[in-house]
């Protein structure tokens, strides 16, 4: 089980309704359903993943989050979850606005471009960083809008998006992030998980 999914699950209350945008093969959905009795729906682009979800008995809609979130009514879910996908959209702000419209709260996780290994790779070797959380090279990465925890933190501030909780993840360790420890956590977290809305 991925640590990230465990952190996301801990952020959500039991017995709620959740939409998992870009739900992949349904691993997180299965976890939420089983351990938190959450009524969960998925949106996923790949036919193969959709089939995996259906096989697991999960409700999933094949579609593109960039263009098809309009079908979900306002506040129709308690939470909308977006795991490591925000940076791959053409218009992340527009998608984020849609997520905030659909969910009462939104959970977003991002691979942190501010992580020290990422920074040093670029600084010392002069090459675009390739790490475990960022496994692609510059020419085949799906990531169009990489950002750091600090970037997303500031973005929410500027756009008046309420930040309820931010968790930094590094391997098995997690820590709460706030304004006062932002600089240091931005350096030592591989992933940032935001609860907003």
């Amino acid at each position: 089980m991925k640590k990230e999914f465990k952190v996301i699950a801990d952020l959500l209350s039991d017995n709620t309704r959740v939409l998992d945008v870009g739900c992949g093969d349904g691993s997180l959905m299965s976890l939420l359903k089983k351990e938190k009795n959450i009524e969960v729906r998925g949106l996923e682009l790949s036919q193969e993943n959709v089939q995996q979800c259906i096989h697991k008995g999960l409700s999933v809609i094949q579609g593109n989050a960039e263009t098809e979130l309009h079908q979900f009514p306002d506040k129709s879910f308690d939470y909308v979850v977006l795991s490591q996908t925000l940076q791959a959209f053409f218009e992340p702000e527009k998608v984020l606005r849609d997520l905030l419209r659909i969910g009462k709260s939104v959970v977003i996780s991002i691979p942190n471009f501010g992580y020290w290994k990422v920074r040093t790779k670029l600084l010392l070797f002069g090459k675009m960083p390739v790490t475990k959380t960022l496994p692609n090279t510059w020419y085949n990465t799906p990531n169009l809008h990489m950002c750091t925890i600090k970037d997303l933190f500031n973005f929410c501030d500027e756009k008046d998006i309420n930040i309820k909780k931010v968790v930094g993840v590094n391997e098995d360790k997690t820590s709460l992030i706030n304004k006062s420890n932002l600089e240091i956590k931005n350096l030592f977290s591989k992933l940032g998980i935001f609860l907003i809305g």
Binding site: Q47, I54, H55, I61, G63
Partner: protein
Amino acid sequence: MPSLAGLFFWMNVKIENIKKLNVAKSLKLDCGKTINNFPLAYETYGKLNQNKDNAILVFHALTGDQFVTGINPITNKEGWWVTAVGPGKAIDTNKYFVICANVIGGCMGSLGPKNINPETKLPYGLDFPVITIKDMIRAQESLLEHLGIKKLLCATGGSMGGMQLLQFCITFPDKTFSAIPIACSSSHSAQNIALNELARQAIMADPVWDNGKYVLKNVQPKNGLAVARMVGHISYLSEKGMQEKFGRKLQEKADYEFSFNADFQVESYLRHQGYAFTERFDANSILYITRAMDYFDLSKQFKGGLTEAFRNQKTKFLIISFSSDWLYTTKENKDIVIALNASGADVSYSEIKTDKGHDSFLLDEPEFLKTLKSFLDSMHEKFKNEKRI
């Protein structure tokens, strides 16, 4: 080869021997007329288990019938959904009890324009009342009652079968635990009405049709009906699929004949399919069933449109569309998904990538069949649990 009249007689004799329920209650049709004491022909496959949690109702498409799988005893050909239904198939008849009824208006034993009108003691022809998709499914509900099934595990159908299914879920919201509408629409599009009209006009232009009175003479407007079927066949394929299958290949000849015979393989294919169809289907039935499809518009039945139509749905849906289907497009299928979503229903959706067009749901499309099986099996587990509680 037997004469057509002889063939019809022989088919009628065989039709007498198929499973039929006499629906004793009267059914008020959407057109205002009432039918009563009418036959509903059906077939079942597999066994209903003791808990009655394994029943699946299949709705057939325009030219389908109740013979879903195995050998159709009337035509002696394989059932129309043999790819998906049968022992060990996606809809496994070793495990599930599969039911299918011939729609009213059809010609495989259920009440249709070929039947005798009790008032005139002659075949109905165009005196048969115009029926709707809703009339069809209301007639079929009697069959579930007859078989003692309060709630189905699943109901499914493609094309017009999917339309019947959507109507069924709305008219009888507690009758099925899950539903798989395939390659269908919540209202017939202008293009589909136009194609149906083309089919109808082809039949009506055949002098043998004689305002539907051909039934009195035991003949069939073969030429018109064959053209109607050709129109259908074109619409069931995709441009790419057709090009790949036929291209400009010639039919058993080295060069053009400089005539109007079937030079091209695609012509030969259409002619064959068209005329073969006239041996198993009634021309007036095509008129009535295509009309029912054209009148289908779920949003018209409810103020507030499609979302309102699906309000309070407890049924778990899986909608499936095919990427190259231009008859019932992905867009039309997605509109159903959007409405179900907006009404808060439990809905899954998958678009199968294929070049085979609308016909895909009848073909051996592995991704499609895998999805069908996965969903059905997981629904069976959930339904068993629900029944236990």
